[in-house]
């Protein structure tokens, strides 16, 4: 081998070595993102809060004051009737307020037997999810869907009648499609969406 070849070989080796070292460095130390929380877990965490807040409102406020102590009623038109907002409204107002604060998640209250028909399931996951949680007590439904060109992780949780006031009101409501709800029944579902 003459000098020229040796010099070329050394240069090539140097370049190759530097490239390899850079690649290895990037792989090991470059932009290490912190490990995120799985979307399913996030949805579960959010649902735990939503569910608890509303259960407390339903049992300690509405059920106690309307059904037990009978001092005030809960009514959809609570401003006009000087009454308490319905638990479903309390839930919805929360969802609307969240929507003004963040796009990181959205949630809604739906049912296969809705009082207001606009709260019936419309997407495939909503329909399948509501049916699943109604038929499989204690289980949640998770999936992915694309809406308006965006991908979402969607979770559906059962919404159960936690207090007598749930079933008495819904069974007797003029617009209810079902009149045979019992305490502990699944009456609908909470749908939480996280954009992916």
């Amino acid at each position: 081998m003459n000098r020229q070849t040796v010099k070329l070989a050394a240069a090539a080796l140097l370049v190759g070595g530097v490239t390899a070292a850079t690649a290895v460095h990037a792989q090991w130390f470059g932009s290490k993102e912190p490990k995120g929380i799985p979307m399913q877990q996030v949805a579960d965490m959010l649902h735990a809060v939503m569910d608890s807040d509303r259960a407390i409102y339903t049992t300690r406020v509405v059920n106690r004051l309307q059904n037990e102590d009978k001092v005030i009623k809960a009514d959809e038109h609570f401003m006009d009737k000087k009454a308490l907002p319905l638990p479903a409204q309390m839930f919805r107002f929360g969802a609307e307020r969240v929507a003004t604060k963040t796009k990181a998640f959205s949630y809604s209250l739906l049912s296969l037997w809705p009082v207001n028909k606009q709260n019936a399931p419309r997407t495939k996951i909503e329909k399948d999810g509501l049916k699943y949680v109604a038929d499989n007590k204690g289980k949640n439904y998770y999936g992915e869907e694309t809406l308006g060109g965006k991908k979402y992780f969607t979770a559906v949780y059962a919404d159960t009648a936690v207090a007598p006031v749930c079933v008495t009101c819904h069974n007797s409501h003029p617009e209810t499609p079902r009149t045979d709800f019992k305490l502990g029944d699944v009456m609908g579902g909470v749908v939480i969406r996280l954009p992916m």
Binding site: H77, A95, A99, E126, P174, R193
Partner: protein, 463 residues
Amino acid sequence: MLWVLWITVSAAGGLYVLGSIVYGGNRSLLLIGKTTSGHHQIELACDACHTTVFGGAEVLQDACVNCHGVELKAANDAHPLSKFTDPRNADRTAVLDARHCVTCHQEHRPKITRAMGVTLPHDYCFHCHADIAEDRPSHKGLAFSTCASAGCHNFHDNRALYNDFLLQHAGEPDHLERQRMTLATFLRSREDSIKVPRVLVAADADAPAAHRGDAKIAADWAGDAHARAGINCSGCHTTKAEPERWIAAPGIDVCKGCHSDEARTFVEGKHGMRLREGMMASHDGPLGIFRAAKLPPMTPAQARLPMKTDQAHTELGCNTCHSAHRYDPKTARVERCTGCHDDTHTKAYLTSAHHGLFEKEAAGLAPKGTGVSCATCHMPPIETRRPDGRKAIFVTHNQNDNLRPNEKMVRSVCGTCHGLQFTLDALADRKLIDKNFTGLSGVHIESIAWAQRRARERSKRRQ
């Protein structure tokens, strides 16, 4: 070399037009189409809506909400933004983007603008409520262009039209017997809380000799509410910040120091919208070519409604309806209105039954609060809550708040004296409105009957 001159002149002209767009000046040539009756008064304050030179629906949305947000919230908007931001409605907003006001209410499109500034074909409800007949058999066969008919539904304000309200007020007589707190009663209940050291008389007037003017002025003031409340000349003609400077003709900025509710609502309506904060005809521009200028107050000559010609150039402010030193509310309630307004409804008022009641009350032949003036219907007393939660009643000066669509008037005005069926029928009859309610309605609204029928059918099914 003429072309050099031509280029220079064109460039200068172009720059001036650009400057006009950004800063102001005479922009009437830039208007691209007749504005709606709701906005025509402020059409030269371009940046009231176009807050930035570039920007689409988002920029305009902020401007819409800035002026109309409060009233929509008060009306318990049936289609608020929150209904459409949920991703599950993405397919619906793709067809009709109800998240933006301008989707349905486009300005500068006179050829396609219908009632209430709507620029969509009337059957837009179809997009989301196509299957309504399944849930409401009574709606089978009804055309979607009739959803927003009088007495049925309103896109935003259903306070007097929702199902429970119809049922609650079903069967009411045409003329109600019940009492309702009038402004007079409320004021009497608050009188004790107003501590006045001493009621002022003409001799107490503290205007400097140079500005005293006619003796009649002091006499007018002394017999009026301001003197009784201890407000002297300096109270309106000077400010606390500059007690030496005499203001010859105090404007709304002075009045609002005490009458904040009235001043606030005045600039929300069509009498005062030009005086609203931020309504600038132009702003300060470079090289002093453009100067900041507010919109001038409205005058009857510029109105689209028929107005009396002798008042053509009267500038609208607080003192237009309330004379400067004798704030006689009685004159303000009818005489001042008919002094400018010259349309069929106004002219018909003077021979109407409502006016008959007004004259009876004025003559002392009927109890206080039973007379019906222009103000009774279009500037009624309304309840409000103070920041500390206390209830207060004041006369709203936003005449538009009780005008169109007239469903707005059902609860705050008509419903104080009349039953719901009678009210809905009357407000749905355009001919009757033109005759200012002389005679009975030729229209019968079925909404209450339908609500009752449905309630009966549903309760039968539940049994």
